[in-house]
């Protein structure tokens, strides 16, 4: 039984909260000014006191591990690296606790604010009464790059422009909550709030249970319901997709997490197409209708035809589909308009006018220079007020006040006078502090809270919780994740016991059994195919390199060892069977380059990087294990260039590890992926790549004057991973006929060429659209030609020759298949991944 009264438990209290230095100048979320623990923190503190400091530390570690296992990350954008670096998401296990009555008033205030913002948006994109009556300065609309003129007059379902809204809140020293920024375009972070809840409730289950915390699932269920209701004419089974800007977006991981939780397919602009004013998803089996788009792509990037024409993230023709009422987009396009802090100054008046109420939560003091009086105030206080662009205010976190020299101030004043409407100044908020994790117990850290709301039948519902961000140190008031801040869960306490709810099973009702997942978008099929090809390329390269390193000794450099040259040739290193000087010029460092040089095409490192990139694109379609295997592989190979201290033996060890990782990858793919199209394309990619590499190596081996030398044949068996099979089958030294039979024609050997081709034929038969045609498709034609030629071979012919093996029938067929396999790959791409690049057609200039 949980206790309802706080018993003074002195010793552990000293452990955790002793030295909690209440900062006198700030509001603290847990302690009164008299340094007494506030009642709503009591149960939580009691629960963690019971755990004690050591246990809490252990729990924090488990919290970190859980995040890592879930693969929750955040992309940090460097100056040189647009792709960003994935950083683990930092979660402080100590939640921010909010009392029930406090929450009720916050919730009411934010519902009012969302309603107000929606009403203003409806007016700006509709009648524009507010401008005509001069309640809203026209410059706030007309001068904003976020006012999307082509969207004027497009009415969203239920006139809900703002479907999903977030507000950033901070609490000043007097205990008053302030809105520091409004997120009206594509509010981010709800997925992180969910992840925080997941890890915190698992790390501190006792505290979570005893505190009666409101669940988050209800909010996400409301989101699902309200998004489904946006579908206009297809009420039955609407398809909602989650439109992402792609893996390079800062919060891609969060988007993927959220999409998975909500059960929506994560799509990019290029996965969608507009035909006859309807939006469709491009899948392997054709176009499938889309009814609702929940987007994370910025307003003006959504339709290159009518908005920014340089955007590659959008869907051309989307606006026309919206006008036709065939699709709904949440949030409506153009909602970024009210993200500008310049609007804040007008909210109290607009609230009175539009809702007939007082604005319930104030905004942080803002002066927009487009107003004469505000401009005067800003110009007189340039030394004190941070001035920033009034529009496209994308970094709302308070930054340290920049120290301006007198000359800089003068230049700024001049720019403000020239185009005053482009500037605004905002008061810096002193954030409140809340107990946060520290190595020696709980410490006060500045926090800010982001709260989310969703529109539901014309009203708004708030998530009972939110994303609390924590500054990195006590003095700091910067909350940006880009600058090393952390986040924590937000516990809104309930006065009644809370009902447990999860989205993972449908509430009540029967569940339809499904054997096939949602149809695969062509772009993902493309990625799976290349994932297979690169995985096999890495495997083949590692095998060749291992073969080379294990034979490469200082005495052997001059090409004295026959097996070395076909290996080096296949690795595209000068092998020189005629030219021993060239062979001598291949040094161990050249081999290292094939391992580590990221800029060398086909190097193991470059291939592993490519694998990791593809795995990122497929993140929401593959297991976390698969992702970890490939990330670990890439990390291991991303060693610094200085490999001078490494020995050939180290290389063999590293290559063995690489091959093990790749075997793990194949095992996961084979045992854990359903036999749907994703797996099929992955396997086809692997088979094609394996055939290409095998043929390339066999071609070089047969071209060697020592092709019949047992040591070369040993190498063939080794590269084809068939040594054990051979030894089990023939108790004799390798011989041309038997070796080539095993690696070419033995259909029980999963490494033989025939086995690859047979598998490809089976895959082809199951591809969508391949069976309906009377005539074979171009890809099938290529495959059948190769298969027929291969089947008619008799490798024993090789034994009858003394030299010139490359010119034999076997040699010719190997060359033929080596040439044909890339054509097969192209044919598959043309049939299934044909979402060729989109370009824009400019008109001619006016002359």
């Amino acid at each position: 039984m949980s206790q309802t009264t706080v018993e003074p438990q002195r010793p552990p209290l000293i452990d955790l909260l002793a030295g909690y230095p209440r900062e006198r100048d700030f509001f603290d979320e847990a302690f009164s000014t008299g340094a007494e623990l506030l009642p709503h923190y009591a149960r939580f503190v009691e629960a963690i006191q019971k755990l004690g400091a050591a246990e809490l530390k252990r729990r924090r570690e488990s919290c970190r591990r859980l995040l890592h296992e879930q693969g929750i990350t955040y992309n940090i954008h460097g100056e040189t690296n647009a792709r960003g670096v994935e950083q683990p998401w930092q979660v402080d296990p100590i939640p921010l606790v909010i009392a029930p009555e406090e929450w009720r008033s916050l919730e009411a205030a934010l519902i009012q604010r969302a309603t107000l913002i929606n009403a203003i948006l409806a007016d700006c994109y509709g009648p524009r009464e507010l401008i005509r009556s001069r309640r809203l300065p026209p410059a706030l609309v007309f001068a904003q790059p976020d006012f999307l003129r082509p969207c004027h007059g497009i009415r969203p379902p239920h006139d809900t422009y703002l479907h999903f809204y977030a507000a950033d809140l901070a609490r000043s020293p007097d205990g008053q909550w302030w809105v520091i920024s409004d997120r009206t375009q594509v509010p981010t972070g709800a997925g992180y709030a969910l992840a925080n809840r997941l890890v915190t409730s698992r790390a501190l289950p006792e505290a979570f249970r005893s505190c009666q915390v409101h669940r988050l699932a209800g909010f996400f269920r409301d989101m699902q319901t309200s998004l489904a209701r946006l579908a206009l004419r297809q009420a039955d089974n609407p398809r909602v997709v989650f439109l992402t800007p792609g893996p390079y977006s800062e919060t891609y991981c969060e988007q993927s997490y959220l999409a998975r939780y909500l059960g929506y397919m994560l799509v990019e602009g290029q996965d969608l197409t507009v035909r006859d004013d309807r939006v469709y998803l491009k899948t392997l089996s054709g176009l499938e209708p889309v009814h609702v788009i929940f987007r994370r792509v910025d307003d003006d990037f959504c339709d290159p035809l009518e908005l920014r024409n340089d955007s590659i993230l959008g869907v051309p023709g989307l606006l026309e589909a919206l006008r036709a009422g065939n699709v709904a987009v949440a949030n409506a396009l153009g909602t970024g308009l009210l993200q500008s802090p310049a609007v804040m100054a007008f909210l109290p008046g607009l609230c009175q006018h539009l809702l007939g109420e007082e604005l319930k939560i104030p905004s942080v003091a803002t002066w927009w220079c487009g107003q004469r009086s505000a401009r005067q105030h800003v110009l007189e206080n340039l030394d004190r007020l941070p001035v920033r662009p009034a529009f496209r205010w994308d970094a709302p976190e308070p930054e340290p006040l920049p120290e301006l020299s007198a000359a800089q101030r003068e230049a700024l004043a001049r720019r403000i006078e020239f185009q005053p409407h482009l500037f605004a100044a905002q008061e810096q908020v002193e954030l409140s502090t809340a107990p946060s994790w520290g190595p020696d117990g709980l410490r006060p850290r500045p926090v800010a809270l982001r709260v989310y709301l969703v529109a539901m039948d014309g009203a708004y519902k708030a998530m009972a919780g939110g994303l609390t961000r924590v500054a990195a140190a006590s003095g700091l008031h910067t909350l940006s994740m880009q600058h090393g801040g952390a986040s924590k869960d937000t516990w809104v306490l309930s006065q009644e016991p809370v009902e447990a709810l999860t989205l993972l099973t449908a509430p009540g009702g029967g569940i339809e059994l499904r054997r096939v997942g949602n149809n695969l978008p062509s772009r993902l099929a493309d990625n799976f195919f290349w994932l297979g090809r690169y995985a096999e390329r890495a495997d083949a390269t590692a095998r060749l390199l291992r073969g080379a390193f294990s034979r490469f000794t200082p005495e052997n450099t001059a090409g004295a060892l026959p097996p070395l040259s076909p290996i080096l040739q296949t690795l595209k290193l000068p092998a020189g069977e005629e030219d021993s000087v060239a062979a001598a010029s291949v040094s161990e460092s050249d081999l290292w380059a094939v391992v580590f040089d990221p800029d060398r095409p086909g190097s193991l490192r470059a291939t592993a990087d490519e694998l990791q990139r593809l795995a990122m694109f497929l993140r929401e379609r593959t297991s976390n294990d698969l992702w970890h295997v490939l990330s670990t592989l890439a990390e291991r190979l991303a060693m610094p260039a200085g490999t001078l201290g490494l020995l050939a033996g180290d290389a063999v060890g590293l290559l063995n590890q690489t091959l093990l990782s790749l075997a793990a990858f194949r095992g996961l793919a084979r045992e854990n992926m359903t036999r749907a199209h994703g797996w099929r394309f992955l396997d086809m990619g692997q088979r094609i790549e394996r055939s290409i590499h095998l043929c390339a190596f066999l071609d070089h081996a047969l071209g060697s004057p020592d092709a019949d030398n047992p040591s070369v044949l040993e190498a063939v068996l080794e590269v084809a991973d068939s040594s054990i099979t051979y030894r089990g089958r023939y108790n004799l030294l390798p011989n041309l006929g038997t070796v080539y039979d095993l690696v070419l024609l033995d259909d029980t050997n999963p490494r033989s060429l025939l086995f690859q081709l047979n598998q490809l034929v089976k895959h082809f038969e199951r591809l969508p659209g391949e069976r309906e045609n009377a005539l074979p498709s171009p890809g099938q034609r290529v495959l059948l030609e190769c298969l027929t030629a291969l089947r008619l071979l008799d490798p024993r012919d090789l034994n009858r020759l003394q030299s010139g093996w490359q010119e034999s029938d076997v040699g010719k067929v190997i060359q033929q298949i080596r040439l044909q396999m890339p054509r097969l790959s192209d044919a598959i791409a043309a049939s299934y991944f044909a979402h060729s690049t989109i370009s824009r057609a400019g008109g001619s200039a006016d002359l």
Binding site: F142, F418, G843, A845, D846
Partner: protein, 290 residues
């Protein structure tokens, strides 16, 4: 006077286009003094879907998409327009330019809320102190607005050389200022950005010129392609057109297609293609007197 306009645009693609979506703004809008008697638009290959409506600025826009594989696209717009000759306003009777700027300052005067849209930066045009400084000699204190604009129009014509190869659709204004060369689009943009830098409202007008001049008059520059000029807002008179490329005030030889904040709002044809590789475009305009 009645004119027949034929505006032909031909695209050729180096690789087949599988899907294309276009927006064409090639239908002249009806205006006081401009009657659109007839209009037809031929598109080849025939679009799967085609719709015409008014855009945000009230210009006619035709959206069309083609879903068959094609490697050329031809768009032919034919219009018959009747133009009533405008009597140019008496420029010197317009209000002093500073009074007009004053109307646009905070709080905005109710009568200029509509033109207020054209005071601010637009996607292709940014106000700057350099541009304000360039315009300044035409705007001595107290000068009537339209007299000052006429002088700016004249100076642009005198200072800049018409050159079809110096710039492209995408050349920024800074580069035009530096090279002192360009085409009608650049000159109209320059004038608009100068006027906005002073706090005035100006807009971009796209249209056509008659191809063959009346007896005894020189042929106008830009007559065999689509043309562009600008309009400035003057209280009571409304929008007044100026053509810096030909250093004149349009009377009856300028046929208006539409207007917007800059070229981007009225670009005659813009499109998004799937496939297509490289493309080349040829446009030809013939304006004949009926």
């Amino acid at each position: 006077m009645t004119f027949d306009v034929v505006h032909r645009t031909l695209y050729r693609y180096s690789q087949p286009v599988t899907v294309s979506q276009h927006a064409a703004r090639v239908e002249p809008r009806a205006l006081a003094g401009q009657i659109v008697a007839d209009f037809s638009l031929r598109i080849e290959p025939a679009p799967t879907l085609r719709k015409t409506r008014d855009d945000y600025f009230g210009n006619r826009v035709c959206f069309f998409s083609i879903h068959e594989v094609h490697s050329r696209l031809e768009i032919v717009a034919r219009s018959r327009l009747t133009i009533a000759a405008v009597t140019p306003p008496v420029l010197s009777l317009s209000p002093p330019w500073e009074k007009v700027v004053e109307l646009f300052s905070d709080p905005v005067s109710p009568e200029v809320v509509e033109p207020y849209e054209f005071v601010f930066d637009s996607p292709l045009l940014r106000a700057s102190e350099t541009l304000a400084a360039y315009a300044q000699p035409s705007f001595p204190a107290g000068t009537p607005l339209l007299s000052a604009v006429l002088d700016l129009n004249r100076r642009i014509h005198a200072d800049f050389k018409y050159d079809r190869v110096a710039t492209t659709v995408a050349t920024p204004l800074e580069e035009v200022m530096e090279k002192r060369r360009g085409v009608c689009q650049d000159f109209a943009h320059l004038a608009i950005a100068c006027l906005r830098s002073l706090g005035l409202a100006a807009r971009y007008v796209s249209g056509y010129l008659r191809t063959r001049p009346p007896e005894g008059k020189p042929r106008l520059v830009g007559a065999d392609a689509s043309h562009a000029w600008f309009s400035v807002f003057c209280p009571e008179l409304g929008w007044v057109d100026f053509d810096p490329t030909n250093n004149l005030l349009p009377e009856s030889d300028h046929l208006t297609l539409g207007f917007g904040r800059d070229f981007g709002d009225v670009s005659p044809i813009s499109g998004i293609l799937t496939g297509g590789g490289k493309h080349d475009v040829k446009a030809a305009v013939t304006v004949s007197v009926l």
